[in-house]
Symmetry: none
Subunit: 194 residues, 4 copies
């Protein structure tokens, strides 16, 4: 039952099917057969819309990154002007529900691991990591000198990613409250340093 203008619908459908498959089966077992089955379409359609599995994987990772970027952008927009507020907003966005559900975290980890040997994915992931660092450093620099800000930014970014990594490897769901609290304390500590 072919229809016109299906492209965006099918692409979204397939991206979600990919996330679902990676979450349930793992990156290694997320075959296009599995993905197509979850999307309720045939395997051929993947090549039709994404020019192969690799294209679908990349599009899916791009989608996740975009979600995170939007989440952070929105958090910053509704945050106050104080660096502390803005930094906590960034932390909260990174631990927002959509980012901390088991499926998303497992998928992120899978993508990162596979990005180590896939230049295209690696580039995407690098941009993401650099952006988090920049966002954070930018706020710290309002109160700290360049060197202090750099250290504070590295520390906070590591803290966020560390909680995130440990959360993704845990069996239980991540309770975002504790990480947020610890990160907040870290932020306050850093800002009062000088």
């Amino acid at each position: 039952m072919p229809k016109v203008g299906m492209q965006p619908i099918r692409r979204q459908q397939l991206i979600h099917a990919t996330l679902s498959a990676v979450n349930e089966l793992g990156f290694a077992d997320a075959s296009i057969t599995q993905i197509a089955k979850r999307a309720g379409v045939s395997t051929g359609i993947i090549s039709h819309y994404f020019d192969g599995k690799h294209g679908l994987i990349e599009a899916t990772m791009r989608y996740l990154l975009q979600q995170l970027a939007e989440s952070i952008a929105a958090a910053l927009q509704s945050a106050g002007d104080l660096p502390e507020q803005r930094l906590i907003a960034i932390v909260r966005a990174n631990f927002s529900a959509s980012q901390t559900d088991k499926a998303a975290m497992k998928t992120w980890l899978a993508f990162w691991a596979s990005s180590l040997h896939q230049p295209d994915l690696h580039r995407l992931q690098q941009v993401n990591h650099h952006r988090l660092h920049s966002n954070i450093k930018y706020e710290f620099e309002k109160h700290l000198d360049r060197q202090q800000a750099e250290y504070a930014a590295q520390g906070l970014a590591a803290l966020i990613d560390g909680f995130w990594l440990r959360g993704s490897l845990m069996t239980t769901d991540l309770d975002a409250a504790v990480p947020i609290q610890i990160c907040s304390a870290y932020i306050q500590q850093q800002l009062k340093t000088p």
Copy 2:
């Protein structure tokens, strides 16, 4: 010409070949053919000594974990009695050369990601994460109350893992000095809290 006592030699040979293959090719492309080639043996030998590829992978991860555990144990032994000294020793062990070279980090990440969908690996990895937390918390508890120690431990463990994760995803080698410095500052900060 059967040789006696080949078992430990062959096993070690194959574990190193696995690390080498995972590092250079990535987890997905580390086939037993590649591994056997690097070890200079035939593929059949893998089933003989490890009962299949899965057994080899698990043994390799176990080996990495043991290395880390020994590294930490040694660091603690030669550390002083002060919690601060002991905690910094733990940090240093986690960022020691053998743990932060690109190959080891890539392998760790690959194992972690794949552990998400492999119960055997997952169990190993859980033990490891719990041990780091326990080690750290034990030291913090010498100066802090249980709740404070728990938070401090979670924070420091996240900091360590976060630096480690960001390092493994970087293109350049990790300069351990900065993470160690930031972790040290964090430790001192936590210990003076009360």
Copy 3:
């Protein structure tokens, strides 16, 4: 906006696109997607006008054969009455520019090879080969007895096809002058035989 009389236009369009695709990509890689792209139409149109890829291939071969037949007919019409003149005219037609450019030769060879296992194409090709033989033999019979004419015809036909085959397999373009000269010499030789 349906248009009237599109059929002949579309068919011609698609036949030329097929020749172009077979020439550039080879018979094996001349998919209907490629052909449709070159014709600037959708793939569906091929089934519409030719009832499938096979129909298009057959029509294309038929088109090539017709071109050759017309070329020979024209050559004979403007040739004199002497058998020698007429035979040379046939030779020239077989090596005329439109038949010896790389594209046409490659396409012919591809069609012939595939005709070995496709009855429809095989029939077309048989007619063609028989026609060349008949045309030639008819002229030789004006001066030779039946048996001699048969041999002369077989020889000349083989000579033509042989040059043609060697030309199609060469990397460089075929210089028609040499084959024509050698064929002419052969004709003269045969005609003076008795």
Copy 4:
């Protein structure tokens, strides 16, 4: 039931299976499944011994070329010293039974056609064509000047290939007697030219 030293046996087995499949099904339908079935082995073995289908195809073509080369070499060895005798020996070798059975001819044609778009096969085929020309020209030069020999060689090579091509496209088996007779006459004619 793995055995040692199977390589040459399996390779030969698979090459023959390839010839059989190409002959019966055509180049396009000679899938590795079909080939493996004819050889009585699994498909995986093809990659094992030939590093993929392409390697098998190339090895098969190389085998055919070698057969022809040996056939010609043998014919020349047992031929007299006279150019005429030697040239006829070459002709006979080209139309010997092993070269003119339907299967071999169809396979040759299929290979040649596909060689147009496969550099590896093309190179093999070029060598073959050049060798035939050289062999022939070498003999003609014993009696003719360079230019005459070149023309005579081109003519005879075309004659051979032409008969061969027409034979491969025929439905019936090729009766080698007629081509040999016509070629012989051509040779004699050329040699008495000056």
